[in-house]
């Protein structure tokens, strides 16, 4: 068991490091010069400076160092909890993150909860009633682009009915994310329900005289839910990535919008920080799921120990 836990934690660390390194590499391959961006942020046109001034500025920000050294400085700074300074806003990245993470966490957690409940309810209903319409609904929900759902919801609930605000509110963004996330969850759950319901023990249970609903909830649901646990990590990841589109359309000041702005203006330290934090959350959720598995299904811990 200890080996299983340690293995999972080690894997998590490697994934996190890989995400960070890959992002760093991609950002430094981009065409624009980070120094020019920094100058633009200070209102200075690079062409108004002499070669000597440019060299001095490059030196000041460590941009004249070889790439691997810059990478090492960034990484060691990160390990000390120092995310650096935003190139375009000239403030510590940690301040920006602190300001923006609250709204995104609220949005993500709410959306994950709603998706969990709505997705499970839909899967339960679909398999219990065996309505084809319900079984196919998740495929429809998973197919709509999120910006389309968002604009549709704004048009209808904000502009026509005036129930919810189009900017800054929580309800419409949560619904937008949940449509996709709950559909994905429901698709997996329906499939595993169908598999579970065809198992011999279900037939046995029915033969013993249990009602269909009793079998559905006591025997099938618990077993069918297990594969869906894996999806939980994906759902949480989905709510984080969705926040980029959703926060932009709904003008919610969260990490998603911060990421969108930072990517477009090539604000390298901000992008690195957002990716690292998002990856850390994703990795953490998956780790928790992995660690919960053996508790829910003893077979997994046994196979882990046998390795």
């Amino acid at each position: 068991m200890t080996r299983y836990v340690l293995g999972r934690i080690g894997q998590a660390v490697v994934v996190l490091w890989a995400a960070y390194t890959l992002t760093f590499a991609i950002l430094y391959l981009l065409p624009s010069d980070p120094m020019e961006l920094q100058l633009a942020a200070a209102g200075v046109q690079p062409d108004s400076l002499s070669a000597g001034q440019v060299a001095a500025i490059k030196h000041q920000f460590g941009l004249d160092q070889p790439i691997w050294l810059q990478y090492w400085h960034h990484l060691s700074g990160l390990l000390r909890g120092d995310f650096g300074t935003s190139l375009t806003q000239q403030v510590p990245v940690s301040d920006l993150l602190a300001q923006r993470i609250g709204p995104t966490l609220l949005l993500s957690v709410s959306a994950a909860l709603v998706s969990l409940v709505a997705g499970s309810a839909l899967a339960y209903l679909a398999t219990f009633t065996r309505w084809t319409v319900l079984t196919r609904l998740p495929a429809v929900g998973a197919s709509f682009p999120q910006f389309f759902i968002a604009l549709f919801l704004i048009q209808f609930f904000s502009f026509q009915l005036g129930w919810f605000p189009a900017t800054g509110g929580l309800v419409l963004p949560v619904i937008t994310i949940s449509v996709l996330a709950s559909s994905v969850l429901a698709q997996v759950l329906i499939k595993s329900f169908e598999e579970t319901l065809s198992q011999p023990y279900v037939v046995t249970a029915r033969a013993k005289g249990l009602s269909r609903s009793a079998v559905h909830v006591r025997h099938a649901f618990r077993n069918a839910a297990l594969p869906a646990m894996t999806i939980l990590g994906v759902i949480v990841g989905l709510t984080v990535t969705s926040s980029i589109v959703v926060e932009t359309v709904f003008t919610r000041e969260g990490v998603g919008k911060l990421a969108q702005e930072a990517v477009l203006s090539q604000d390298v330290p901000v992008v690195l920080a957002v990716v690292t934090v998002a990856a850390a959350i994703f990795v953490l959720v998956n780790l928790v799921v992995d660690l919960l598995y053996p508790l829910l299904d003893p077979r997994i811990a046994v196979s882990g120990a046998a390795r």
Binding site: Q99, L151, G162, T248, E261, L264, S265
Partner: protein, 541 residues
Amino acid sequence: MKFVKPLAATAATLLALTACGSGADETAGAAGSTLKVSFWPDNPSFSCIDPFQVYWIEHRSIIRNFADSLTDQDPETGKIVPWLAQSWEISPDGRTYTFKLRDGVTFSNGKKLDAQAVADNAAGWIATVKATNGAAFGASYVQGLTGAKAVGPLTVQFQLSKPNSSFLQATSTTNLAITDPAEFRSTPAERCAGKGVVGSGLFVLDHYTPKVETVLTKRAGYAWGSDLVQNKGEAKLEKVVFNYVAEDSVRTGNLISGATDIAWPRNPFTPQDTALITKSGDKVEKRALPGVAYALFPNTTAGRPLADAAVRKALYKAIDLKTYAQTVFGPDYPVIQGAFNSTTPHFKSESAKLAYDLPGAQKLLDDAGWTVGANGFRARNGTELTIEYPITAFSAGAELLQAQLKQAGINLELRTLTTAQQATYTTEGSYDLAQTYFTRADPGALQFILNPDVANSKALAQRSASPAVTKGIQDLFRKALETTDAAQTSSSYAELQDYLIDQGVVFPLFERLQNAGVSDRVQGFAFTSESFLRLNDVTKS
């Protein structure tokens, strides 16, 4: 029914979310005299709220309402009128400006706004220009300024090294708004974030959170509105919240549904949005922004297609400015008439030279040896006539322009840039036509695009014209600016406006109308001479 349980849970969660969502909305709407203004996104590369350094026009609108200037400018006549200064005198040599200040004016922190404070501002501006290598936007307003001194408790004298005919107008702008000089103890970057920025305006800057919101609160005891406003006393609004909304449709929709009071886009509303707004009973206010029009500047570096004067001439004839204005912004939209918008003082119409003449364009190109190939585009010596046109967040109607030029056999290549590329492409020179503009109620504005000695982008200025033409432009600016003779200023600016088109230096595309969608609950809306927002008379019912 066993499935009732999860269903009920879903419903409960949704209800809980609904409750907290609408609750938040109600608190925001409860304060009746809070005005909500929605801008397009904040400046992606330079977040700033410090008057002297800001070039972003939305933020200049905000500054106008928390920081006053020495003078004000009448939007109708362009005349300079008293504000913090009750009167002024310009010495015959045009190098000394003496202002007599109004008594009893204080900054919102209680400090006196007297002659010494104004003189210290002048010192602060000059220091800021130095600290930013001349890049601070305000540098363009203080050309030749060497300093100022208090010659009496309320009399202050500005000293210039050479005459600058646009200096008096400069004192009316937001960039030369007078702030508590203590702010200059902070670095330019700190001031951009709002640190120490304290004005004497009818509102107080409460906070600026870049890309999120800017909030102003009412200044108690305000009593020195300029001659141009009805209400010279305290604001009739308690609070003004400016936010930044990325989606045009959401900004307009928020206005129509009542979630915001003023929708303030950068480019004018589309005809569809204008129709939606007026249909709902709200109003679209418009005024042309004074200064340089929405214009394209050529890259005339040798080897580039626009180095050829014939191609530049043909470009004027191939662009149908009237159709462009009507298609992109609606049937009654004004057609651009020259390098400057029509609200700029000394404006001269160049319509005749900008007239659409497709056969004329084709003939010019034929004569210059550009022949039409099989694909419909022209070529000379095996090189296709391709004009690289970078698309930025500011672009409008680029595809229409492309279609118009195609008629003349010119291939306008659209290249969409990211925000990061937008900040650097002019320096790199990877363009044939670059779009820019400059808002100021004085033609002198254009020298900060075209005069390499003072331009915000030296690279763009140098590429826009040959050295000989650049010298011609500099000479005309010098004649217009370094004088105290108003007639000479006017005639030099008229000559300049002809010269710019004759030499193919500026390709104006459309008159920049500042639009504002104003809710029917808002009364007293007004534009300043620079087409910024003025809130002195605004009330909200």
